[in-house]
Symmetry: C2
DNA sequence: TTCGTAATTCGATGTTCGTCGAACATCGAA
DNA sequence: TTCGATGTTCGACGAACATCGAATTACGAA
């Protein structure tokens, strides 16, 4: 990365409101979903969203401070990953329930209509479909 | 209540971010916990928190719009209750995981210091549980 | 060393949010 | 009808937030 090594809080020092606040923002929720959709890490550069780099950095910092993600530095670039296992220990079921929910509007808005493939993914509950 | 009957959204129209935003505020989370701690409804007047009435009304409106609570009007007063069953249908496990988590700071701040228990760590989960 | 790339920090801007007191609307009771 | 109690709405205020572009830091490569 660029400046200095990042700090990651111990999960026990993280409050529930902090986590909820971090997740309560469309862009950040999108990032979390993106990370959850894949195993392991994701390169910073590969997170492409229609926002400025500085904004993305800002959101990642908030997610980091909330204990939701962690980043590993390798040379000049860094890789982000979800702290899902630890999270499960501190807030049992929380992340899972957030991810499991197929948010209608958000899903519609965050997925590109460009990819012809259908990411079935969320199985189970089919959202009542737009009427 | 005072002016006119309240509106309650259908849970399917509620987005996840809306719910998370509603919960991501200490006072509101406290209200939700308070409602969850008891079965059934709670009189508006009995929700006493160190905030102005107008502020409480504002928070309840946000919780209402997020589909988290509902209120029943009876004469001039109203009773608030959690829409837990419906919530469970729309966001499975979410409310439960939020309630189950013993938030250190918040718990300390919202619970009476009356219980001399020592509950050292957070993961112990000595939550009364109401599953 | 110098250059370029990668990510963070800084400063500024406009918006949203929590909070309050005052004014208002609605109902039951006198 | 008048009065009092109960919530809600309205303006206003300061704090916090999302966003951006520019400056900065850190590293690898030439």
């Amino acid at each position: 990365m660029a400046p200095r090594e990042q700090e990651h809080p111990a999960l026990n020092d993280v409050e529930l409101v902090t986590v909820l606040s971090a997740l309560a923002e469309p862009t950040r929720l999108r990032i979390v979903r993106m990370l959850a959709a894949m195993e392991g890490e994701r390169a910073w550069k590969d997170i492409d969203l229609p926002i400025a780099q500085s904004t993305l950095s800002h959101h990642l910092k908030i997610l980091r401070n909330a204990g939701l993600v962690q980043n590993r530095t390798e040379g000049t670039r860094c890789f982000i990953s979800l702290r899902d296992a630890e999270l499960e220990g501190r807030f049992p079921g929380l992340l899972e329930s957030v991810l499991e929910c197929r948010d209608t509007a958000l899903a519609r808005e965050s997925e590109e209509p460009a990819s012809p493939e259908k990411h079935g993914a969320t199985e189970g509950s089919s959202v009542p479909a737009a009427t």
